[in-house]
Subunit: 200 residues, 2 copies
């Protein structure tokens, strides 16, 4: 599937803040938790959600799906702009008895594995679903959610992310499954403590 | 501290939906996850956030604090209406080495214990903080966050909740610490599969 350039046009307000404010921990990890996934600035989050909503609206979604916890703020902001409900997969210890719509994924920041779970009551056959999350990195959360959507008989029509880490495999994993991707900022690589953006 | 009645006036749109739509699992547990803490309706969440913001605004908060995951949506909605940043405590396995601002709490739904953690960078001495969460039940999360706020040298000026379970000890625990409480709906008890509201 060809990448639609407009889906991945850099969103200047976000790109500027990443370049100016991100903390580069090492050549794999950048921290922008002061406005993205720990502290949230409502007005800026709403602006990012509105921008992502504009790119996802042509896919005519019925539902915005994400995973707790860092996906909730961007998904709610996007769902608000789309005027569609937002559903977040809950995370449980994999020892909990797995119900219908669940997948186990690795949990690098929290250690071990975690189970993503969605109630079948809210994800129904025939629904057009867009996935929204803060980061597209290795794509494991996105793929688990895509499998859950497929198992529900719903259709994952597109996936939107605030920040793509281009040096990880997430995009190719999703593209291989023909899932269109929208991103607002694309981090090409992390180098000597600096963030190198793709389209800079 | 005397309870200010206006802080706990039932918010009719929420009370109506709880009475009409809540699933009463047993005499301790009610589920309203179709619009509160699994599936979220952005417009309704914004209305609840606006209402809570109106009650919390007189406390002149600098920051809205909550805990992941179910607190994020109501806290973001409230922070949006207050035009203040929102900070959510992250949850980690207690085996992670505890940094400065952290407390271990029981995790009934996820099993065992979990650690609430806030970066000291975003919770600073002198800040006026309001706590926002979906439920006030036994108050353990709220008390842990109150301790974190105190440890940071900040001031917890009030706490707001969408739903209070009056048959648990949360209110008395917070009131004993002189923390003003705002709630939008008060569940007096669960009885024979029905929800009995306090002010009905």
């Amino acid at each position: 599937m060809e990448m639609l350039p407009s889906l991945n046009t850099p969103f200047a307000p976000l790109v500027r803040r990443i370049v100016a404010e991100a903390t580069v921990v090492n050549d794999r990890i950048l921290k922008i938790d002061h406005f993205l996934n720990h502290r949230v600035e409502p007005e800026f989050m709403a602006a990012m959600g509105a921008e992502l909503a504009e790119r996802l609206r042509p896919f005519a979604p019925d539902l915005v799906l994400t995973a707790e916890a860092s996906g909730i703020a961007p998904a709610l902001a996007t769902a608000t702009a789309l005027n569609r409900p937002m559903l977040y997969a809950k995370k449980y210890s994999p020892v909990v008895e797995p119900p219908a719509l669940a997948r186990v994924i690795p949990s690098p920041t929290k250690g071990g594995e975690t189970m993503l779970m969605v109630s079948a009551r809210y994800l129904q056959a025939g629904m057009r679903v867009v996935l929204v999350d803060d980061f597209l990195a290795n794509g494991k959360t996105a793929l688990a959610l895509a499998e859950i959507v497929a198992e529900a008989g719903a259709q994952l029509v597109a996936a939107g992310f605030l920040v793509e880490k281009c040096f990880q495999d997430g995009r190719s994993e999703l593209t291989a499954r023909a899932i269109p991707i929208a991103t607002l900022a694309q981090v090409e690589r992390l180098e000597d403590g600096n963030v190198v953006m793709r389209h800079a």
